[in-house]
Protein backbone atom coordinates (compact mmCIF):
# COMPACT_ATOMS: atom_id res chain seq x y z
CA UNK A 1 0.00 0.00 0.00
CA UNK A 2 1.25 3.47 -0.94
CA UNK A 3 2.57 5.69 1.82
CA UNK A 4 3.81 9.25 1.60
CA UNK A 5 6.72 8.43 3.89
CA UNK A 6 8.09 5.89 1.38
CA UNK A 7 7.81 8.42 -1.45
CA UNK A 8 9.44 11.10 0.67
CA UNK A 9 12.24 8.64 1.46
CA UNK A 10 12.71 7.90 -2.27
CA UNK A 11 13.11 11.62 -2.92
CA UNK A 12 15.48 12.15 0.00
CA UNK A 13 17.69 9.23 -1.12
CA UNK A 14 17.57 10.41 -4.74
CA UNK A 15 16.07 7.17 -6.02
CA UNK A 16 14.31 8.19 -9.23
CA UNK A 17 13.34 4.64 -10.19
CA UNK A 18 11.56 4.18 -6.88
CA UNK A 19 9.92 7.61 -6.95
CA UNK A 20 8.37 6.86 -10.37
CA UNK A 21 7.25 3.40 -9.23
CA UNK A 22 5.66 4.80 -6.05
CA UNK A 23 3.87 7.58 -7.93
CA UNK A 24 2.38 5.00 -10.30
CA UNK A 25 1.28 2.91 -7.30
CA UNK A 26 -0.28 5.94 -5.65
CA UNK A 27 -2.23 6.79 -8.79
CA UNK A 28 -3.51 3.22 -9.02
CA UNK A 29 -4.73 3.52 -5.45
CA UNK A 30 -6.60 6.70 -6.32
CA UNK A 31 -4.38 9.23 -4.55
CA UNK A 32 -4.84 12.65 -6.15
CA UNK A 33 -1.92 13.94 -8.24
CA UNK A 34 -2.02 17.26 -6.35
CA UNK A 35 -1.56 15.46 -3.03
CA UNK A 36 1.25 13.34 -4.43
CA UNK A 37 3.06 16.53 -5.44
CA UNK A 38 2.49 18.55 -2.28
CA UNK A 39 2.55 15.83 0.42
CA UNK A 40 5.10 13.56 -1.24
CA UNK A 41 7.46 15.18 -3.73
CA UNK A 42 7.59 18.72 -2.36
CA UNK A 43 7.68 17.42 1.21
CA UNK A 44 10.68 15.29 0.30
CA UNK A 45 12.49 18.21 -1.31
CA UNK A 46 11.86 20.32 1.79
CA UNK A 47 13.75 17.73 3.85
CA UNK A 48 16.55 17.67 1.27
CA UNK A 49 16.79 21.47 1.39
CA UNK A 50 16.93 21.41 5.19
CA UNK A 51 19.64 18.76 5.15
CA UNK A 52 21.63 20.86 2.69
CA UNK A 53 21.28 23.94 4.89
CA UNK A 54 22.39 21.91 7.91
CA UNK A 55 25.50 20.73 6.05
CA UNK A 56 24.41 17.07 5.98
CA UNK A 57 23.77 17.04 2.21
CA UNK A 58 25.90 18.31 -0.65
CA UNK A 59 24.97 19.56 -4.11
CA UNK A 60 25.08 16.04 -5.67
CA UNK A 61 22.48 14.73 -3.20
CA UNK A 62 20.29 17.69 -4.10
CA UNK A 63 20.83 16.91 -7.75
CA UNK A 64 19.76 13.28 -7.38
CA UNK A 65 16.75 14.25 -5.27
CA UNK A 66 15.69 16.83 -7.84
CA UNK A 67 15.95 14.18 -10.55
CA UNK A 68 13.75 11.84 -8.51
CA UNK A 69 11.13 14.59 -8.28
CA UNK A 70 11.43 15.58 -11.95
CA UNK A 71 10.96 12.01 -13.19
CA UNK A 72 7.99 11.46 -10.88
CA UNK A 73 6.46 14.76 -11.95
CA UNK A 74 6.71 13.69 -15.59
CA UNK A 75 4.32 10.84 -14.73
CA UNK A 76 1.90 13.27 -13.13
CA UNK A 77 2.14 16.04 -15.70
CA UNK A 78 -0.47 14.66 -18.15
CA UNK A 79 -2.94 14.33 -15.28
CA UNK A 80 -2.54 17.87 -14.06
CA UNK A 81 -3.50 20.99 -15.95
CA UNK A 82 -1.17 23.92 -15.43
CA UNK A 83 -3.55 25.45 -12.93
CA UNK A 84 -3.88 22.22 -10.92
CA UNK A 85 -0.15 21.80 -10.34
CA UNK A 86 0.59 22.87 -6.78
CA UNK A 87 3.25 25.54 -7.08
CA UNK A 88 5.13 27.75 -4.67
CA UNK A 89 5.53 30.44 -7.27
CA UNK A 90 6.74 31.24 -10.76
CA UNK A 91 10.36 31.90 -11.63
CA UNK A 92 12.02 33.03 -14.86
CA UNK A 93 15.72 32.27 -14.93
CA UNK A 94 18.65 32.71 -17.30
CA UNK A 95 22.36 33.39 -17.66
CA UNK A 96 23.03 37.01 -18.56
CA UNK A 97 24.28 38.38 -21.89
CA UNK A 98 27.84 37.45 -22.83
CA UNK A 99 27.93 34.45 -20.53
CA UNK A 100 27.31 30.92 -21.72
CA UNK A 101 27.91 29.11 -18.44
CA UNK A 102 24.92 27.07 -17.45
CA UNK A 103 25.85 24.63 -14.67
CA UNK A 104 24.88 26.90 -11.79
CA UNK A 105 21.72 28.05 -13.53
CA UNK A 106 20.73 24.48 -14.37
CA UNK A 107 21.25 23.34 -10.80
CA UNK A 108 19.16 26.18 -9.41
CA UNK A 109 16.46 25.45 -12.00
CA UNK A 110 16.36 21.78 -11.02
CA UNK A 111 16.33 22.52 -7.32
CA UNK A 112 13.56 25.10 -7.64
CA UNK A 113 11.46 22.81 -9.80
CA UNK A 114 12.00 20.00 -7.33
CA UNK A 115 10.99 22.26 -4.47
CA UNK A 116 7.73 23.12 -6.23
CA UNK A 117 8.39 26.28 -8.19
CA UNK A 118 7.28 26.65 -11.78
CA UNK A 119 10.45 27.64 -13.62
CA UNK A 120 10.89 29.06 -17.12
CA UNK A 121 14.50 28.61 -18.13
CA UNK A 122 15.47 31.12 -20.84
CA UNK A 123 18.92 29.57 -21.36
CA UNK A 124 22.28 31.32 -21.60
CA UNK A 125 23.62 34.54 -23.12
CA UNK A 126 20.27 36.31 -22.72
CA UNK A 127 20.13 40.04 -23.63
CA UNK A 128 18.66 42.36 -20.99
CA UNK A 129 15.64 43.21 -23.15
CA UNK A 130 14.78 39.53 -23.53
CA UNK A 131 14.62 39.16 -19.75
CA UNK A 132 12.24 42.12 -19.63
CA UNK A 133 10.11 40.58 -22.40
CA UNK A 134 9.98 37.27 -20.53
CA UNK A 135 8.87 39.03 -17.34
CA UNK A 136 6.05 40.65 -19.31
CA UNK A 137 5.08 37.36 -20.93
CA UNK A 138 5.30 34.95 -17.98
CA UNK A 139 4.51 37.36 -15.14
CA UNK A 140 6.84 35.60 -12.69
CA UNK A 141 7.17 36.24 -8.96
CA UNK A 142 10.94 36.03 -9.27
CA UNK A 143 13.53 36.68 -11.96
CA UNK A 144 16.78 34.76 -11.44
CA UNK A 145 19.99 36.00 -13.07
CA UNK A 146 23.16 33.94 -13.28
CA UNK A 147 26.74 34.91 -14.23
CA UNK A 148 29.97 33.02 -13.80
CA UNK A 149 32.35 35.65 -15.06
CA UNK A 150 33.48 38.94 -13.63
CA UNK A 151 33.28 40.14 -17.23
CA UNK A 152 29.55 39.45 -17.42
CA UNK A 153 28.18 40.10 -13.95
CA UNK A 154 27.71 43.78 -14.78
CA UNK A 155 25.10 42.64 -17.35
CA UNK A 156 22.89 41.93 -14.31
CA UNK A 157 22.71 45.66 -13.75
CA UNK A 158 21.61 46.10 -17.36
CA UNK A 159 18.72 43.67 -16.80
CA UNK A 160 17.50 45.66 -13.81
CA UNK A 161 17.72 48.84 -15.89
CA UNK A 162 15.76 47.15 -18.70
CA UNK A 163 13.05 46.18 -16.20
CA UNK A 164 12.91 49.78 -14.98
CA UNK A 165 12.67 51.09 -18.54
CA UNK A 166 9.81 48.68 -19.24
CA UNK A 167 8.14 49.72 -15.95
CA UNK A 168 8.27 46.12 -14.75
CA UNK A 169 10.73 46.43 -11.88
CA UNK A 170 8.09 46.66 -9.16
CA UNK A 171 6.29 43.60 -10.50
CA UNK A 172 9.07 41.08 -9.96
CA UNK A 173 11.72 40.23 -7.37
CA UNK A 174 15.19 39.97 -8.90
CA UNK A 175 17.68 37.49 -7.48
CA UNK A 176 21.29 37.06 -8.57
CA UNK A 177 23.90 34.35 -8.20
CA UNK A 178 27.12 32.94 -9.63
CA UNK A 179 30.73 32.56 -8.60
CA UNK A 180 31.83 36.23 -8.61
CA UNK A 181 28.50 37.58 -7.36
CA UNK A 182 28.26 38.67 -3.73
CA UNK A 183 25.64 40.07 -1.39
CA UNK A 184 27.42 43.42 -1.64
CA UNK A 185 27.19 43.33 -5.44
CA UNK A 186 23.52 42.34 -5.30
CA UNK A 187 22.77 45.33 -3.09
CA UNK A 188 24.95 47.56 -5.24
CA UNK A 189 22.93 46.87 -8.41
CA UNK A 190 19.58 46.94 -6.63
CA UNK A 191 18.71 43.24 -6.70
CA UNK A 192 16.25 41.86 -4.16
CA UNK A 193 18.25 38.83 -3.19
CA UNK A 194 21.44 36.85 -3.56
CA UNK A 195 21.86 33.10 -3.37
CA UNK A 196 25.30 31.67 -2.70
CA UNK A 197 24.32 28.26 -4.06
CA UNK A 198 21.41 26.12 -5.22
CA UNK A 199 20.35 25.18 -1.70
CA UNK A 200 20.22 28.78 -0.63
CA UNK A 201 18.29 29.66 -3.77
CA UNK A 202 15.35 27.55 -2.61
CA UNK A 203 15.30 29.24 0.79
CA UNK A 204 15.66 32.66 -0.80
CA UNK A 205 12.81 32.10 -3.25
CA UNK A 206 10.55 30.70 -0.54
CA UNK A 207 11.19 33.78 1.57
CA UNK A 208 10.54 36.11 -1.35
CA UNK A 209 7.18 34.52 -2.13
CA UNK A 210 6.36 34.17 1.57
CA UNK A 211 6.05 30.36 1.58
Amino acid sequence: MFSYSTLIQAVVTGNHIKSVKLVNEALKEGVSPQDIVSSGLQAGMRIVGDKFSAGDFFVPEMLLAARAVTRATEVLQPLLSASDMPTLGRVVIGTVFGDIHDIGKNLVTMFLRGAGFEVFDLGVNIPADNFARAVKEYNPDILGLSALLTTTMSAMRDVIKALEMAELRSKVKVIVGGAPVTQHFAEHIGADGYGADGGNAIKLCRNLVGK
Binding site: V59, I100, L149, T151, D197
Partner: protein
Protein backbone atom coordinates in the same frame (compact mmCIF):
# COMPACT_ATOMS: atom_id res chain seq x y z
CA UNK B 1 72.43 40.38 -4.50
CA UNK B 2 68.77 41.08 -3.86
CA UNK B 3 66.39 38.15 -3.82
CA UNK B 4 64.20 38.05 -6.96
CA UNK B 5 60.40 37.91 -7.12
CA UNK B 6 60.61 34.30 -8.29
CA UNK B 7 62.96 33.32 -5.47
CA UNK B 8 60.67 35.00 -2.94
CA UNK B 9 57.58 33.17 -4.22
CA UNK B 10 59.39 29.83 -4.26
CA UNK B 11 60.85 30.42 -0.80
CA UNK B 12 57.39 31.06 0.64
CA UNK B 13 56.08 28.01 -1.20
CA UNK B 14 58.86 25.95 0.42
CA UNK B 15 57.92 27.45 3.79
CA UNK B 16 61.22 29.30 4.07
CA UNK B 17 61.39 32.72 5.69
CA UNK B 18 61.49 35.82 3.50
CA UNK B 19 61.93 39.44 4.54
CA UNK B 20 58.77 40.77 2.93
CA UNK B 21 55.52 39.27 1.69
CA UNK B 22 55.84 38.03 -1.86
CA UNK B 23 53.16 39.13 -4.31
CA UNK B 24 52.42 37.31 -7.56
CA UNK B 25 49.65 39.05 -9.53
CA UNK B 26 47.49 37.54 -12.25
CA UNK B 27 45.77 39.85 -14.74
CA UNK B 28 45.12 37.80 -17.90
CA UNK B 29 41.30 38.20 -17.85
CA UNK B 30 41.70 41.99 -17.71
CA UNK B 31 44.48 41.97 -20.29
CA UNK B 32 42.75 39.66 -22.77
CA UNK B 33 39.51 41.62 -22.58
CA UNK B 34 41.10 45.04 -23.08
CA UNK B 35 43.48 43.79 -25.78
CA UNK B 36 40.50 42.26 -27.59
CA UNK B 37 38.45 45.46 -27.33
CA UNK B 38 41.40 47.80 -27.93
CA UNK B 39 40.70 49.45 -24.59
CA UNK B 40 43.98 48.94 -22.75
CA UNK B 41 45.01 52.15 -20.94
CA UNK B 42 46.93 54.40 -23.31
CA UNK B 43 50.20 53.74 -21.51
CA UNK B 44 49.90 49.98 -21.85
CA UNK B 45 48.89 49.70 -25.52
CA UNK B 46 51.17 47.18 -27.18
CA UNK B 47 52.57 45.98 -23.86
CA UNK B 48 52.53 42.35 -22.72
CA UNK B 49 51.36 41.07 -19.32
CA UNK B 50 54.80 40.71 -17.71
CA UNK B 51 55.80 44.27 -18.69
CA UNK B 52 52.56 45.72 -17.31
CA UNK B 53 53.10 43.91 -14.02
CA UNK B 54 56.74 45.02 -13.89
CA UNK B 55 55.51 48.58 -14.39
CA UNK B 56 53.10 48.11 -11.48
CA UNK B 57 56.07 46.99 -9.39
CA UNK B 58 54.72 43.54 -8.58
CA UNK B 59 55.64 39.90 -9.11
CA UNK B 60 54.22 38.12 -12.15
CA UNK B 61 51.92 35.13 -12.18
CA UNK B 62 51.63 34.00 -15.79
CA UNK B 63 49.60 30.97 -16.86
CA UNK B 64 50.58 28.23 -19.23
CA UNK B 65 48.51 25.24 -20.33
CA UNK B 66 50.03 21.94 -21.29
CA UNK B 67 53.50 20.50 -21.80
CA UNK B 68 52.44 17.95 -24.41
CA UNK B 69 50.54 17.33 -27.58
CA UNK B 70 47.87 14.65 -27.63
CA UNK B 71 47.70 11.83 -30.15
CA UNK B 72 45.09 9.07 -30.36
CA UNK B 73 45.99 5.64 -31.69
CA UNK B 74 43.48 3.74 -33.81
CA UNK B 75 41.14 6.76 -33.85
CA UNK B 76 40.18 9.21 -36.55
CA UNK B 77 39.99 12.73 -35.19
CA UNK B 78 37.94 15.16 -37.28
CA UNK B 79 38.07 18.84 -36.31
CA UNK B 80 35.64 21.39 -37.69
CA UNK B 81 36.39 25.07 -37.07
CA UNK B 82 33.57 27.58 -37.13
CA UNK B 83 34.98 30.44 -35.03
CA UNK B 84 34.49 30.87 -32.17
CA UNK B 85 33.26 27.26 -32.15
CA UNK B 86 35.29 24.08 -32.64
CA UNK B 87 33.68 20.68 -33.00
CA UNK B 88 35.90 17.64 -32.58
CA UNK B 89 34.72 14.19 -33.52
CA UNK B 90 36.54 11.10 -32.30
CA UNK B 91 35.76 8.14 -34.55
CA UNK B 92 36.84 4.97 -32.76
CA UNK B 93 36.17 1.30 -33.60
CA UNK B 94 33.88 1.31 -30.53
CA UNK B 95 31.77 4.25 -31.63
CA UNK B 96 31.97 7.98 -32.26
CA UNK B 97 31.90 10.71 -29.64
CA UNK B 98 32.16 14.44 -30.15
CA UNK B 99 32.72 17.63 -28.24
CA UNK B 100 32.15 21.29 -28.99
CA UNK B 101 34.09 24.20 -27.53
CA UNK B 102 33.92 27.96 -27.79
CA UNK B 103 36.96 30.19 -27.46
CA UNK B 104 36.61 33.94 -27.14
CA UNK B 105 39.83 35.21 -25.55
CA UNK B 106 38.85 38.78 -26.38
CA UNK B 107 36.18 38.47 -23.67
CA UNK B 108 38.75 37.42 -21.04
CA UNK B 109 39.08 33.62 -20.86
CA UNK B 110 42.43 32.03 -21.62
CA UNK B 111 41.02 28.55 -22.25
CA UNK B 112 38.09 27.38 -24.40
CA UNK B 113 34.73 26.77 -22.79
CA UNK B 114 33.26 23.30 -23.31
CA UNK B 115 29.75 23.62 -24.69
CA UNK B 116 29.33 19.92 -25.31
CA UNK B 117 31.31 17.10 -23.72
CA UNK B 118 32.10 13.69 -25.24
CA UNK B 119 29.97 11.60 -22.91
CA UNK B 120 26.28 12.01 -23.72
CA UNK B 121 24.81 8.72 -22.46
CA UNK B 122 25.79 5.28 -21.16
CA UNK B 123 26.12 4.21 -24.82
CA UNK B 124 29.34 6.23 -24.98
CA UNK B 125 31.31 4.18 -22.43
CA UNK B 126 32.97 1.88 -25.04
CA UNK B 127 34.18 4.77 -27.22
CA UNK B 128 35.46 6.78 -24.24
CA UNK B 129 37.25 3.71 -22.87
CA UNK B 130 38.88 3.21 -26.28
CA UNK B 131 40.02 6.84 -26.35
CA UNK B 132 41.57 6.68 -22.90
CA UNK B 133 43.35 3.41 -23.65
CA UNK B 134 44.78 4.90 -26.84
CA UNK B 135 45.78 8.37 -25.68
CA UNK B 136 49.47 9.13 -26.19
CA UNK B 137 51.05 12.32 -24.89
CA UNK B 138 54.10 13.66 -26.70
CA UNK B 139 56.22 16.15 -24.73
CA UNK B 140 56.14 19.70 -26.10
CA UNK B 141 57.76 22.39 -23.97
CA UNK B 142 58.59 25.14 -26.46
CA UNK B 143 55.71 27.48 -25.64
CA UNK B 144 56.22 27.04 -21.92
CA UNK B 145 59.91 27.82 -22.20
CA UNK B 146 59.16 31.00 -24.18
CA UNK B 147 56.93 32.23 -21.35
CA UNK B 148 59.60 31.37 -18.77
CA UNK B 149 62.06 33.48 -20.72
CA UNK B 150 59.53 36.33 -20.92
CA UNK B 151 58.97 36.32 -17.15
CA UNK B 152 62.56 35.65 -16.12
CA UNK B 153 63.20 36.16 -12.42
CA UNK B 154 60.30 38.59 -12.06
CA UNK B 155 57.72 35.95 -11.18
CA UNK B 156 56.44 32.50 -12.01
CA UNK B 157 54.90 30.74 -14.97
CA UNK B 158 52.32 28.43 -13.44
CA UNK B 159 51.78 25.41 -15.57
CA UNK B 160 48.19 24.17 -15.42
CA UNK B 161 49.26 20.61 -15.66
CA UNK B 162 48.11 17.97 -15.08
CA UNK B 163 45.22 20.39 -14.35
CA UNK B 164 42.80 17.91 -12.86
CA UNK B 165 42.98 14.69 -10.85
CA UNK B 166 41.68 11.67 -12.82
CA UNK B 167 38.19 11.70 -11.29
CA UNK B 168 37.85 15.43 -11.74
CA UNK B 169 39.03 15.00 -15.33
CA UNK B 170 36.07 12.64 -15.89
CA UNK B 171 33.77 15.03 -14.07
CA UNK B 172 34.86 18.15 -15.91
CA UNK B 173 36.15 17.08 -19.31
CA UNK B 174 34.33 13.86 -20.14
CA UNK B 175 30.85 13.92 -18.59
CA UNK B 176 30.10 17.28 -17.09
CA UNK B 177 29.14 17.90 -13.52
CA UNK B 178 25.49 16.80 -13.47
CA UNK B 179 25.97 13.76 -15.70
CA UNK B 180 28.98 12.66 -13.63
CA UNK B 181 26.98 12.45 -10.43
CA UNK B 182 24.08 10.70 -12.15
CA UNK B 183 26.47 8.15 -13.65
CA UNK B 184 28.38 7.64 -10.42
CA UNK B 185 25.04 6.91 -8.78
CA UNK B 186 23.58 4.80 -11.61
CA UNK B 187 26.67 3.03 -13.04
CA UNK B 188 29.41 3.21 -10.40
CA UNK B 189 31.49 0.31 -11.75
CA UNK B 190 31.60 1.83 -15.25
CA UNK B 191 32.73 5.17 -13.84
CA UNK B 192 35.33 3.39 -11.70
CA UNK B 193 36.64 1.67 -14.81
CA UNK B 194 36.99 5.02 -16.61
CA UNK B 195 38.78 6.29 -13.52
CA UNK B 196 41.37 3.53 -13.74
CA UNK B 197 41.95 4.25 -17.43
CA UNK B 198 42.15 7.99 -16.81
CA UNK B 199 44.81 7.42 -14.16
CA UNK B 200 47.02 5.99 -16.91
CA UNK B 201 46.60 9.15 -18.98
CA UNK B 202 47.32 11.46 -16.05
CA UNK B 203 50.42 9.45 -15.13
CA UNK B 204 51.76 10.13 -18.62
CA UNK B 205 51.36 13.84 -17.86
CA UNK B 206 53.10 13.51 -14.51
CA UNK B 207 56.07 11.72 -16.04
CA UNK B 208 56.51 14.50 -18.60
CA UNK B 209 56.25 17.06 -15.80
CA UNK B 210 58.80 15.21 -13.70
CA UNK B 211 61.38 15.58 -16.46
CA UNK B 212 60.51 19.25 -17.15
CA UNK B 213 61.90 22.41 -15.51
CA UNK B 214 58.47 23.23 -14.02
CA UNK B 215 59.08 23.94 -10.32
CA UNK B 216 55.52 23.95 -9.02
CA UNK B 217 52.97 22.19 -11.24
CA UNK B 218 49.28 22.71 -10.69
CA UNK B 219 48.08 19.22 -9.81
CA UNK B 220 44.44 20.16 -9.56
CA UNK B 221 42.23 23.14 -10.05
CA UNK B 222 38.86 24.81 -10.00
CA UNK B 223 37.93 23.35 -6.68
CA UNK B 224 34.86 24.19 -4.79
CA UNK B 225 32.48 22.48 -2.42
CA UNK B 226 30.63 21.23 -5.50
CA UNK B 227 33.20 18.46 -5.53
CA UNK B 228 31.26 16.16 -3.28
CA UNK B 229 33.18 15.74 -0.04
CA UNK B 230 32.78 11.91 0.04
CA UNK B 231 33.95 11.78 -3.60
CA UNK B 232 36.90 13.98 -2.67
CA UNK B 233 37.83 11.71 0.23
CA UNK B 234 37.59 8.51 -1.83
CA UNK B 235 39.10 9.56 -5.16
CA UNK B 236 41.01 12.80 -4.66
CA UNK B 237 42.87 12.52 -1.36
CA UNK B 238 44.70 9.20 -2.06
CA UNK B 239 45.53 10.38 -5.57
CA UNK B 240 47.17 13.59 -4.34
CA UNK B 241 49.10 11.69 -1.70
CA UNK B 242 50.54 9.41 -4.38
CA UNK B 243 51.22 12.28 -6.81
CA UNK B 244 52.79 14.40 -4.06
CA UNK B 245 55.18 11.61 -3.12
CA UNK B 246 56.20 11.18 -6.77
CA UNK B 247 56.66 14.88 -7.57
CA UNK B 248 58.42 15.62 -4.28
CA UNK B 249 60.88 12.84 -5.09
CA UNK B 250 61.62 14.74 -8.30
CA UNK B 251 62.22 17.99 -6.41
CA UNK B 252 58.88 19.59 -7.35
CA UNK B 253 56.31 21.35 -5.23
CA UNK B 254 52.59 20.76 -5.79
CA UNK B 255 49.98 23.48 -6.23
CA UNK B 256 46.18 23.45 -6.32
CA UNK B 257 44.05 26.24 -7.80
CA UNK B 258 41.35 26.76 -5.17
CA UNK B 259 39.22 29.58 -6.49
CA UNK B 260 35.78 28.44 -5.33
CA UNK B 261 33.76 27.96 -2.18
CA UNK B 262 36.01 25.81 0.01
CA UNK B 263 34.21 25.65 3.34
CA UNK B 264 33.69 21.90 3.36
CA UNK B 265 36.93 20.95 1.64
CA UNK B 266 39.25 22.98 3.87
CA UNK B 267 39.65 20.30 6.58
CA UNK B 268 40.42 17.62 3.99
CA UNK B 269 42.96 19.67 2.08
CA UNK B 270 45.55 18.95 4.75
CA UNK B 271 45.23 15.22 4.05
CA UNK B 272 46.22 15.75 0.40
CA UNK B 273 49.75 16.91 1.27
CA UNK B 274 49.57 19.60 -1.45
CA UNK B 275 52.15 22.32 -0.80
CA UNK B 276 50.49 25.47 -2.15
CA UNK B 277 46.86 26.55 -2.35
CA UNK B 278 46.73 29.18 -5.07
CA UNK B 279 43.97 31.62 -6.11
CA UNK B 280 42.61 31.63 -2.57
CA UNK B 281 39.37 33.61 -2.84
CA UNK B 282 38.12 34.64 0.60
CA UNK B 283 34.95 36.40 1.71
CA UNK B 284 33.11 38.29 0.33
CA UNK B 285 33.52 36.13 -2.79
CA UNK B 286 33.17 32.95 -0.75
CA UNK B 287 31.98 32.30 2.78
CA UNK B 288 35.38 31.75 4.42
CA UNK B 289 37.73 34.47 5.64
CA UNK B 290 41.49 34.28 5.35
CA UNK B 291 41.74 34.26 9.16
CA UNK B 292 39.51 31.17 9.26
CA UNK B 293 41.62 29.48 6.60
CA UNK B 294 44.88 30.21 8.41
CA UNK B 295 43.38 28.95 11.65
CA UNK B 296 42.37 25.69 9.96
CA UNK B 297 45.66 25.10 8.13
CA UNK B 298 48.22 26.78 10.37
CA UNK B 299 51.63 26.73 8.68
CA UNK B 300 51.11 23.45 6.87
CA UNK B 301 50.02 24.89 3.53
CA UNK B 302 51.38 27.96 1.76
CA UNK B 303 48.49 30.13 0.64
CA UNK B 304 48.71 32.22 -2.53
CA UNK B 305 45.91 34.72 -3.03
CA UNK B 306 43.77 36.57 -0.52
CA UNK B 307 42.55 39.57 -2.55
CA UNK B 308 39.28 38.61 -4.24
CA UNK B 309 38.72 39.76 -7.82
CA UNK B 310 35.62 41.72 -6.87
CA UNK B 311 37.66 44.07 -4.66
CA UNK B 312 39.37 45.51 -7.72
CA UNK B 313 36.05 46.65 -9.19
CA UNK B 314 34.68 50.19 -8.99
CA UNK B 315 31.85 49.16 -6.65
CA UNK B 316 34.53 49.15 -3.92
CA UNK B 317 36.11 52.53 -3.23
CA UNK B 318 39.87 53.04 -3.02
CA UNK B 319 39.49 53.44 0.74
CA UNK B 320 37.59 50.15 1.03
CA UNK B 321 40.23 48.45 -1.09
CA UNK B 322 43.07 49.73 1.10
CA UNK B 323 41.19 48.72 4.24
CA UNK B 324 40.65 45.21 2.88
CA UNK B 325 44.32 44.71 2.02
CA UNK B 326 45.51 46.10 5.35
CA UNK B 327 43.06 43.81 7.13
CA UNK B 328 44.35 40.85 5.09
CA UNK B 329 47.89 41.59 6.24
CA UNK B 330 46.67 41.62 9.83
CA UNK B 331 44.80 38.36 9.34
CA UNK B 332 47.88 36.52 8.09
CA UNK B 333 50.31 37.89 10.67
CA UNK B 334 53.15 37.01 11.18
CA UNK B 335 52.83 36.44 7.43
CA UNK B 336 55.05 33.47 6.72
CA UNK B 337 53.98 30.85 4.15
CA UNK B 338 51.81 33.37 2.37
CA UNK B 339 52.05 34.81 -1.14
CA UNK B 340 49.71 37.69 -1.80
CA UNK B 341 47.75 37.22 -5.01
CA UNK B 342 44.38 37.54 -6.61
CA UNK B 343 41.43 35.27 -6.21
CA UNK B 344 41.72 34.54 -9.00
CA UNK B 345 42.28 37.32 -11.56
CA UNK B 346 41.86 40.99 -12.31
CA UNK B 347 38.34 41.39 -13.67
CA UNK B 348 37.83 43.27 -16.93
CA UNK B 349 36.51 46.34 -15.13
CA UNK B 350 39.00 46.02 -12.29
CA UNK B 351 41.37 48.90 -11.65
CA UNK B 352 44.91 48.01 -12.72
CA UNK B 353 46.34 50.71 -10.40
CA UNK B 354 45.09 48.70 -7.44
CA UNK B 355 47.55 45.94 -8.35
CA UNK B 356 50.37 48.40 -7.85
CA UNK B 357 48.65 49.74 -4.74
CA UNK B 358 48.95 46.30 -3.13
CA UNK B 359 52.72 46.46 -3.66
CA UNK B 360 52.80 49.87 -1.94
CA UNK B 361 50.80 48.54 1.01
CA UNK B 362 53.07 45.50 1.27
CA UNK B 363 56.10 47.82 1.27
CA UNK B 364 54.55 49.72 4.14
CA UNK B 365 52.96 46.96 6.20
CA UNK B 366 54.20 43.65 4.79
CA UNK B 367 57.67 43.32 6.28
CA UNK B 368 57.95 39.96 8.00
CA UNK B 369 57.19 39.16 10.70
CA UNK B 370 54.07 41.31 10.52
CA UNK B 371 53.18 42.63 13.93
CA UNK B 372 49.54 43.16 14.76
Amino acid sequence: MAITQKQKILAAARKQAVDKLPFGARIDVWYNYHSGHDTLPEKYRGWNIPDILRDQGVGIELRHGYLWKVEYRDTEVVVREDPPFTTTEYRTPKGTVSMKTMFTPQEGPWVPYELELPFKSADDYPAIEHLLKNTVLVPYLDDYLKKVEMVGEDGMVICSAPEYSPMQEIMRKIMGYEMFFYELNDHPSKVEHLYELMKGVVWQKLKILAESPVEMPMVCGNWSDDIHTPVFRKYFVPWFQEVGEFLHSKGKLTLAHIDGEMKRLIPMFLETGIDVAEAWSPAPMTSVTTAELRKAWGDRVTVWGGVPAILFEPQYSDEEFDAYVKHLLQEIAPGYNFIVGMGDNLAFDGKIERVGRIAELIDKYGRLPIEV
